[in-house]
């Protein structure tokens, strides 16, 4: 044993993990700032800062000391401590496989690539992004090579965001979804269209009204504008949402509810877990289940709009003055195949994800070349959704994920949709009809239920276990499909 101090192993481990949480806090601010507030010329220096933070975290985490502490902490009785050790071990074993240099290189190049993506997207210039994407892919390949025993390379990536998830399982769920979604989309009814403009300031007021009814508190939350909305929690009681408000449509409201779902999950984690790896949502799909729940199951529900439409309508007298609640609800729920995943309706969304899931596997396998991506993207968009992509900004360049090395992440979005309805059904079984409450602008009972069943646990339970505990079943696409069939019948 080479403990530098005489502290008991559990205390020592917690101290190290708290320090790592602090460094993550700094990294999270560095990232948030680079997307919200950094002057563009600061990007190069910022990439250095982030790379250093990543390297320092990595070095401290993969140390032998952490391994020895974990070894000394087998079989703890306290379930929270045992969960901490379990999760730490999982992450430690993963991190040990990845050389520090590679970890630093990944974060350094991501900082540069995301800036390049920003520019490429603005100019709809895929060619300028190609070298960055090549670099990201190459680094991902090197990362995957650190896990030679995993037969399916894509599993390595998937498991990082969704513990225990396999490509085969995703494939099975997605196949089932595709079977149902394609005909569902084909059978779609024509729906009324909303025509703007919707002045940005009025939209921002609407966003605030909804957030406040959901439980947003300016003492601990903030919301900003970014091209690509996201949520982030640098530290305990500091929740940051972003949205993108465009006067041409009302998507900002839905993206705000979406990010609220991510934010509230993090916000409601038990404070006693702060500064530990348990103080975060348990997986990407569980996280997404919450953003989709607040965006869709709440935010596109009839009850919600019974409450909110009378408040929204007067904010946009020109655009909505003559639109009644029913037409509005139909307009914001309609199935409308489009180019942009972030704007997609509940039915077509899944196909956007399936397309990315397929392309990612093909890129990794080398069966699709990066330079051919736009063409393949566009032709599949046509196959799946029947739309003609006008340019790469509305096509292959629309998402930032690949620029920051997020491969294997997209599937979790769709798994989140699936899980959201599984949880929703359970909540309704416990709470009865929620729509009545929503119609009065009351969302507290739902949030309370979610806090109690999902949020407060943070990462104490792995995603599968959490889902099983709450719903009594495993990942199951049927409730989600049933929800869509009912909604779009």
């Amino acid at each position: 044993m080479t403990f530098a101090t005489a502290a008991p192993p559990l205390e020592r481990l917690k101290a190290i993990l708290a320090e790592l949480a602090d460094l993550q806090h700094a990294e999270s601010i560095a990232d948030w700032d680079s997307r919200v507030s950094m002057p563009p010329e600061g990007a190069a220096a910022r990439a250095d800062v982030v790379a250093t933070l990543t390297r320092v975290m990595h070095e401290r985490f993969v140390s032998d000391e952490v391994g020895e502490l974990l070894g000394a902490l087998e079989g703890l009785d306290d379930p929270t401590d045992a969960a901490l050790v379990r999760l730490t071990r999982r992450e430690w074993e993963r991190a040990r496989r990845v050389p520090g240099e590679l970890a630093a290189e990944m974060s350094h190049s991501a900082g540069i690539a995301v800036a390049a993506w920003d520019k490429a997207k603005a100019a709809s210039d895929f060619a300028s992004f190609v070298p960055h994407l090549e670099r990201q892919l190459e680094l991902k390949q090197r990362y995957i090579a650190c896990f030679p025993e995993t037969e399916t390379p894509y599993d390595v990536l998937l498991d990082e965001y969704e513990e225990g998830m396999t490509t085969a399982e995703v494939q099975k769920v997605f196949t089932r979804l595709k079977e149902e979604l394609v005909p569902l989309i084909e059978r779609r009814q024509p729906a009324p269209e909303l025509t703007g403009p919707f002045p940005v300031e009025a939209q921002q007021r609407a966003n605030r009204l909804v957030l406040e009814a959901f439980g947003y508190d300016p003492a601990a939350w903030r919301i900003d504008e970014t091209p690509h909305p996201f949520a982030s929690k640098p530290g305990f009681a500091d929740i940051r949402l972003t949205t993108h408000t465009d006067a041409r449509d009302l998507t900002s409201l839905f993206s705000t509810m979406h990010e609220f779902g991510h934010g509230v999950y993090e916000f409601d984690i038990d404070p006693s877990l702060a500064r530990s790896p348990l103080a975060q949502g348990t997986s990407s799909a569980l996280h997404e289940s919450q953003s989709r729940m607040w965006e869709n199951l709440v935010g596109r529900s009839r009850g919600f709009w019974r409450w909110f439409y009378p408040k929204l309508q007067p904010l946009f007298p020109d655009a909505l003055g003559t639109v009644d609640e029913e037409s509005f609800l139909q307009a914001v729920s309609a199935i409308r195949p489009g180019f942009i995943r972030g704007d997609a309706d509940e039915a077509t969304y899944g196909l956007h994800i399936i397309l990315r899931f397929e392309l990612e596997q093909e890129l990794l396998a080398g069966t699709v070349e990066i330079r051919d991506l736009p063409e393949i993207w566009n032709s599949r968009m046509n196959d799946y959704l029947g739309v003609d992509v006008p340019d790469d900004a509305h096509g292959v360049l629309q998402d930032m994920h690949w620029s920051i090395g997020l491969l294997g992440y997209f599937p979790t979005y769709q798994l989140g949709n699936v899980i959201s309805v599984q949880l929703w059904e359970r909540a309704r079984a416990d709470l009865g009809d929620l729509e009545e409450q929503f119609a009065r602008g009351e969302f507290g009972q739902l949030r309370e239920w979610l806090r109690d069943h999902v949020y407060r646990h943070g990462s104490i339970y792995p995603p599968r276990e959490l889902l099983q505990r709450i719903t009594g079943s495993q990942l199951d696409p049927e409730p989600y499909l049933e929800y869509l069939r009912t909604k779009f019948a």
Partner: protein, 499 residues
């Protein structure tokens, strides 16, 4: 392939600098962006990041490398990058290794909590909320001083953090000279009769002020590619990375002091902006001292921003933007109003002359605090008594008295003197610039400031922290720090004209 000792040192310094930049950003975010409830977690994060930066810098490996590099330092030209990096690193290393990293982390943490408490204490004008934090910070500062032997020069050691190699005795002497010259000057000005500045108080739309501030900044050299401007109760400048300069200002609806605060912060920003970029991620990559930093903020705020030619250029725009307030006010009357000398409660609103007395007051009080002659609990009374003595003013509440500045709440003791030293140096440097550039008035009248900025960049800013502050002043001006040019400037500009 193994890296040379110098490359290894550079690598280590880059890492330390990156961590310091992360801490800088955390602080900026705390003051500009963070929801208030995040303060607790932020204090932890700041403490950890700064402790790690300190640990990595004070690591024995750095000491070994510095030893190994003695030969290279001696054989290199003193002005070379290598010799400068080694020299400056050695100086900082010797100072830093005296201080345990726990103390550094604890101090950062206490400072973060102190700043949060100050915000609320100031808002509610309630000194008692800040008091325990000040007491803790004072104790931590004393422990800091105790890391150095001999402990007799307590205040000097704190001052040295901000103004390396500046002696308390030297400051006392400069301040004595200022007091000696300024007190009678203030009396002369008072006897000559007050200047009307009533039109500077009224309704000034903050959004319009922001547009004007950005117009001035753009003429000075600000661009959105490398800079940003936000609002905070207390204006400041920070740079969390090369090519990333952040100013804050305070747009107040009832006056236009934000324009001066903005020019002030620009001066700090442009100094950082102009540092030789090849110094990035080394200890050379910043302004050399707070005094020199302040010389630049005061240059842009006062020597430029309160000059006649500046207002010849800019007053028509301000007048037009605030026609209701300023429609009938002529340029000369405006110029005199923004240069009005008048004792007042708030340091940052003070005119060029009385400002120095605000500093001298703080300099005296903080010496008392750190030497144990003054208890924190007695600070408000001591403050108010001196305000009465020096300015003849009664402080109505602590928000406008001892709570007005954030410095002590953030653990910055020994910092204030650098403000007045900056005033002094600003005029020394300015005189030298004018010798090279000739009369700048016509250029300012056309809104052209690039020649001045470029001179300052190439003579001062570019040096970064390569030389000591005294060496820097000597390199730029050819003489040591000297109060006479400053006093001469104030007399020439502000003494009543003898008919």
């Amino acid at each position: 392939m193994t890296a040379s000792p110098f490359e290894r040192l550079q690598e280590r310094l880059a890492e330390v600098d990156d961590l310091a930049k992360a801490a800088t950003l955390l602080l900026w975010d705390q003051r500009v962006m963070m929801p208030p409830a995040g303060a607790l977690a932020r204090a932890e994060a700041l403490a950890t990041v700064s402790r790690l930066a300190q640990d990595r810098f004070t690591d024995d490996e750095v000491g070994r490398l510095l030893e190994e590099l003695r030969g290279l330092e001696e054989s290199s030209d003193e002005d070379s990058f290598e010799a400068s990096v080694i020299r400056v690193t050695r100086r900082q290393y010797e100072k830093a290794t005296r201080v345990p990293s726990e103390l550094v982390g604890e101090t950062r943490r206490a400072a973060a909590l102190g700043l949060s408490a100050w915000n609320q204490a100031k808002e509610q004008s309630d000194f008692s909320q800040l008091r325990p934090h000040l007491e803790e910070l004072l104790e931590l500062r004393r422990r800091y001083v105790e890391c150095f032997a001999p402990p007799d020069q307590t205040y000097h050691l704190l001052l040295d953090d901000y103004e390396p190699h500046m002696k308390t005795a030297e400051v006392r002497q400069i301040f004595a000279e200022l007091k000696h010259e300024l007190v009678p000057l203030i009396a002369e000005i008072r006897e000559a009769g007050d200047v009307d500045d009533s039109f500077l108080h009224g309704a000034f739309d903050p959004a319009v002020q922001r547009a004007l501030a950005l117009e001035i900044l753009t003429a000075f050299g600000y661009s959105a590619e490398e800079w940003r401007l936000d609002e905070t109760p207390h204006p400041f400048m920070t740079s969390p990375g090369t090519g990333d300069i952040r100013l804050t200002t305070n747009f107040r609806a009832h006056d236009i002091t934000s324009l001066f605060a903005t020019m002030h912060e620009f001066g700090h920003g442009v100094y950082e902006w102009g540092v030789d970029r090849s110094f990035a991620r080394t200890p050379l990559a910043s302004g050399v001292s707070l005094g020199l930093h302040e010389s630049q903020s005061r240059t842009w705020e006062n020597l430029v921003g309160r000059s006649r030619p500046f207002w010849r250029w800019f007053y028509p725009r301000v007048q037009k933007a605030f026609a209701a307030q300023l429609g009938d006010v002529g340029e000369e009357a405006f110029y005199r109003a923004v240069n009005r000398v008048h004792p007042s409660l708030i340091r940052i609103d003070a005119d060029e002359v009385t400002y120095n007395l605000h500093i001298i007051l703080r300099f005296e009080l903080e010496q008392g605090l750190i030497e144990g002659r003054l208890a924190v609990a007695d600070l408000p009374d001591a403050w108010n008594a001196r305000m009465n003595e020096y300015f003849g003013l009664d402080v109505p509440d602590d928000a406008r008295g001892v709570l007005q500045d954030m410095h002590w709440a953030g653990g910055s003791l020994g910092y204030f003197p650098t403000y007045a030293l900056g005033n002094v140096m600003s005029v020394q440097i300015w005189r030298r610039a004018l010798e090279d550039l000739g009369d700048l008035d016509e250029r300012f009248e056309r809104g052209e400031f690039a020649d001045l900025r470029e001179w300052l960049r190439s003579h001062l800013y570019v040096l970064g922290a390569k030389l000591t502050p005294q060496e820097t002043v000597e390199r730029v001006t050819g003489s040591r720090i000297d109060a006479k040019p400053y006093v001469g400037y104030l007399r020439e500009k502000l003494a009543p004209q003898v008919a």
